[in-house]
Subunit: 818 residues, 2 copies
Amino acid sequence: MTDTSTREHTAPPQTAGSPGPLSPEELDRIHAWWRAANYLSVGQIYLMDNPLLREPLRPEHVKPRLLGHWGTTPGLNFVYAHLNRAITARDLDCMYVMGPGHGGPGPVAAAWLEGTYSEVYPDVSQDGPGMKRLFTQFSFPGGIPSHVAPETPGSIHEGGELGYALVHAYGAAFDNPGLVVAAVVGDGEAETGPLAASWHTTKFVDPARDGAVLPILHLNGYKIANPTVLARIEPEELTDLLRGYGHTPYFVEGDDPEVVHQQFAAALDRCLDEIAGIQRRAREDGVTDRPRWPMIVLRSPKGWTGPAEVDGHRVEGSWRSHQVPFANAREDDAHRQVLEQWLRSYRPEELFDDDGAPVPAVRDLHPQGPRRMSANPHSNGGLLLRPLRLPEFGDYAVPVAEPGTGAVEATRVLGEFLRDVVRRNPETFRLFAPDENNSNRLGAVLEATDRTWVARREPDDDHLAPDGRVMEVLSEHLCQGWLEGYLLTGRHGLFSCYEAFIHVVDSMFNQHAKWLKTTNGIPWRRPIASLNYLLTSHVWRQDHNGFSHQDPGFIDHVVNKKADVIRVYLPPDANTLLSVADHCLRTHQYVNVIVAGKQPALQYLDLDRAVEHCTKGIGIWEWASTDAGTDPDVVLACAGDVPTMEALAAAEILREAFPDLRVRFVNVVDLMRLQDDREHPHGLSDTDFDSYFTTDKPVVFAYHGYPWLIHRLTYRRSNHDNIHVRGYVEEGTTTTPFDMCVINGIDRYSLAIAVIDRVPRLRARGAHLRDRLHGQLIEHRRYVRANGEDLPEIRGWQWGSGGGPVVVGSGPLHEPED
Amino acid sequence: MTDTSTREHTAPPQTAGSPGPLSPEELDRIHAWWRAANYLSVGQIYLMDNPLLREPLRPEHVKPRLLGHWGTTPGLNFVYAHLNRAITARDLDCMYVMGPGHGGPGPVAAAWLEGTYSEVYPDVSQDGPGMKRLFTQFSFPGGIPSHVAPETPGSIHEGGELGYALVHAYGAAFDNPGLVVAAVVGDGEAETGPLAASWHTTKFVDPARDGAVLPILHLNGYKIANPTVLARIEPEELTDLLRGYGHTPYFVEGDDPEVVHQQFAAALDRCLDEIAGIQRRAREDGVTDRPRWPMIVLRSPKGWTGPAEVDGHRVEGSWRSHQVPFANAREDDAHRQVLEQWLRSYRPEELFDDDGAPVPAVRDLHPQGPRRMSANPHSNGGLLLRPLRLPEFGDYAVPVAEPGTGAVEATRVLGEFLRDVVRRNPETFRLFAPDENNSNRLGAVLEATDRTWVARREPDDDHLAPDGRVMEVLSEHLCQGWLEGYLLTGRHGLFSCYEAFIHVVDSMFNQHAKWLKTTNGIPWRRPIASLNYLLTSHVWRQDHNGFSHQDPGFIDHVVNKKADVIRVYLPPDANTLLSVADHCLRTHQYVNVIVAGKQPALQYLDLDRAVEHCTKGIGIWEWASTDAGTDPDVVLACAGDVPTMEALAAAEILREAFPDLRVRFVNVVDLMRLQDDREHPHGLSDTDFDSYFTTDKPVVFAYHGYPWLIHRLTYRRSNHDNIHVRGYVEEGTTTTPFDMCVINGIDRYSLAIAVIDRVPRLRARGAHLRDRLHGQLIEHRRYVRANGEDLPEIRGWQWGSGGGPVVVGSGPLHEPED
């Protein structure tokens, strides 16, 4: 580690005679900009008329419902003003990620001052009527949210759910060598797990290839009602902590704006100089040691510049500033007077001209065009998005001589395709995994790149390099957050994860899906690449890890979000996985969930059939069906690799026992095909659905996940009452692969029994087979308890082997498992 | 902050001539115990016969499927051995929480050595046949999981999902002043968000009242395939980080067992001395400053004592040790020979007697009875659980003169009840919230206690104290984890959270629900208190916060788990909330989810009616119905406070317009009543269900959450096809409360229209009303867009006001909001 800093952790000390780096004129300009942004922020929270205070404040000028968060806003505005000075002085390409996103009025005010707001929302013009609209729309029906949000120009970050500022900032910085991402971390947010983990991204950012993140830890001391942890530990302890994260912290502290302006400007200059130095050493001198990145700690009063006291209670510098500092400003004359004094304290008459536009002295501070943080193209990543250069996925297809044979690890095949995606897109595509890339059989990508690692390396390490494109850390939060930041700034990626543990990021997924849904309605937001999940190591193959690793519920969670942003795929084999993955990597504005196993498994469809099947999303497998294109006696349906295999084995049992039974075999790849076309764009019409599932025949459906999801997706279909679903019912343990199916009733024997029980003309004829199948289940149970593995005829089964004792080993485990 | 340590961060240096604190005899004993535990661990992973190696290893002695994790196990065993020495020497009450829970063989081996395993599983006896069973059962069908699990005596921690070791340890330590919880934190796990946040619990543990947690950060260097971050930062940086967390770290490092034994013993002694000193100063000298707690960093090779090299690849000290270090030990003679040499290197003949029992030299190390960590009663918390002393909840009931009137904040009433629960149970009940206790209107509890806060306090702080019982931190992960640890060690608690953000802990909930489900099948595990969630600030009242704060999907997530461990309640008002909360606090082995609003709202049921309604869980509200006990034309059903109000208003519209329409009004408190009694213990029989919902009449159901859950719960009911559900459909924005209902179609007007559309005899007669209601919707939209608040007749509506313009304000907001 290269430590270029000394152990001085404060900016150069300011004395009375040493005014700091800002000339009086610069100081005035920054302070005027800050006053303007603060004025506009307070206006958004309180006013619906008289925006320029051209007349005394009357009750009807004040909003009836006062909503918003003042406390953090002046700090956000302060940092914004200073970044603007630095951007102009250094021609910086700089983005601003605001962790305390509740301070929504701040960035909205800044975007309006910079003119961006009126560019994208012309009716919110830079004049008095526009300012009135700016104020009224805030946290108002039909208006904008009170948090930093998709509606906010310049933001890639929704401020509602806290904890993701730093990880988003790093995602934006990766592969953007010219970019500086200033990330304000609130001291409330800093208590969250994801934020606490994010600091360690210092070990994953390459100073040669990636841009820089400048964290600004904003200690304003209070959360909603409590002090914050980081504001109440001793300064030395905080210094230790931040150095322990790999940073050199510079402390800026105070409540006198003039002093703090000078201190902050000095600290910012020093940090930007250090960043430039780090990058120069890495890029020009070839230094590969991990640098110690600078950061700023800004300790300022909560609700800074707000009223000091209201009704005898301290407000500025107290938790009472967190939200709206005082209520009833419409009805209560005294409160309204406090509000007016507060607004006038910013001297709006000096900040806005007769029309209400910012005066030149204010406008001059901010940079122009795309250098404005509110208009930085990285913050509207779709502007920069270029399609991936994808290899022909058919080139990676595995041959399938006979359907239902072979033993291929589907994700291993996918890994070869992804390897070449990495090769062809060396700056715009990354893979993310919680230390599971090889375990998930994507190891081939390491032929094209390495794992990102900027910490110390040792001789026995496997494929580690600062410029690796496989990002592995044992934190689903970091994988998700990095990828979100990377996508939101116009790049592409894939997150591979154990199926059960993707629930760790349920809430982050929620927020990203909401972002996509909202941006679909914002014309100036350009589409970004989809967020692709590959969920492997799935519920049916946790024989190694047991109950804690069994949970297929992420699909259910995803399906609760708006249909136009979510897609779920369950490719049954390697070639269908290739086809699905190729498709997903070409899409925009979706969350694609792909569930596919990594174990050696049967293959069903050659390339042509796979493409056709995936394009339709659902299909009848003629070769497995015995209904000869006519009306079936029963539909045997399946979705997911293990359920498909078991359903096929059940079909074989049935065709041997009842040669005249007409079984239609239906496989579903695109789960959303099951839904009504009025509810999901991929949904089948009722006519199409009925053509697969009939209107009156029994359907036995073997499904990968919790069975009720299939009911939910199909409850409006005319044949719904005849659909019998088998899936995971939270019965699990440490056992063999087939035994897991037996425990949950989706094994071949139980499925065959389910068919016998539902086809009227089999009830009598099927009794013998039924009894034999029950016997098989008992024999199975006895065998696995004694031998610890499945019966040879189960392990060796393939389509056409008819349940005979074809013994095939399950193959060696090449990769370490979680 | 009291810093009693110097900045020496290593245990006293060991020189050749200074053998350290262990006498040769003690060293031998510890080492023998460690060898025994390691031998038994390797045996579990590899063997199914010949457990004592009384004959050469033959293929059939080796398991056909090799599963488990060796890498972390010797480290866990090492720490266990040393803790045993200290427990005996100091008569410590000590628990062991093993973060690297994949190392399941270790604690199982320890429990067997200590005799506990054979006590709870008599067929796994302390002899040769028992050892054979011990080995065979590991990660074997019908056996035990490969991770630390509910089946493992002495554990409160499932080792499958990583990140919760430290937070569980702290939960165990709270209110247990005599307890020391040794918590091994794996360096993989340390990369997770929850673990990274957990370190800051040092600001929430009271040395006077609480027990101590001794973190042992185990750097074994590798995850599955990657190095770990904390093992690859510089030692000074790691020291800074751990000091920044508030600890004094002592480093122990090496691979020579003899040296490391001495170092670790010295470090452990020093830490335990410091802990005793900290507690004495707090308890006897009244020191209230936050102490700097000691901790240990143990850097040892991954797979320590395993084979150094296999097939030319380094194994000990490498990621190849993570799981099973080498495969094919059954078929491959060379590998089997390596295995036999490895096992014999522990010299089992010295460790186990002729019968296979541990020899006295091994047995003597461990403490006796409940001092054994595998038998510590805190680790089987149900043994210590005592029911809460609950006040009479009826004493807190609000009067309800007329149903559907008033304006009561339900959670504020609950807060008064909880205040007295805190008073009566000053050592066994805590409240947990992500800085939302007051925002969620539970402020009354602060009359009885304070918020836990051991960091620096300042004069303006509100109710902070080291011994407070309200635990607030801006991390749902910490709230959940602390509460889990507290419950698992036999205490009680409640977690109040914003509804949307409880998804942050989806995955932690999963694991806790799985723990409960599994322990229900383990007779020696005694029932623990239920985990109670209060989800307030719910989806329908996020007018303040907007779309990011709107998500009712936690209920869906919960309902995927086994029916016998989950309960969901939607009390519509204050008295029903009291009744439900009282019930939940008395239950065991459940996860109870209570969803209840915090805003001023109508009250429906007086105490007696509330108790009856909650006891039934579902009921017909006669006063709101017009079917006069006869066959209804339509059933208007509802669940949740806002849907109940809207459904009632719809009922009033309908009764005024169509005096002869027979509407049955059904309210559901206990959501699981809707499910089939074959699927959930609370489920209604079909007969009961039909008696509420009829078999053929239209049902219009206004539901709090995503509508499809109601379909899922009722899809087997005979009247299912007639059930029309309205709920949240992920359409949200920043708007007024009523407008949120309109946007999602659960408002009174839309519900009334839904009834008109579904009752055949209203189709013609209802056209005028239908048209008028559509007009109302348009008028509403126009009004809120102009005024930013709901129409007076909406804000002021109460049952009996008939939609007239009764203007009632929504009341001042007393508490700060998130």
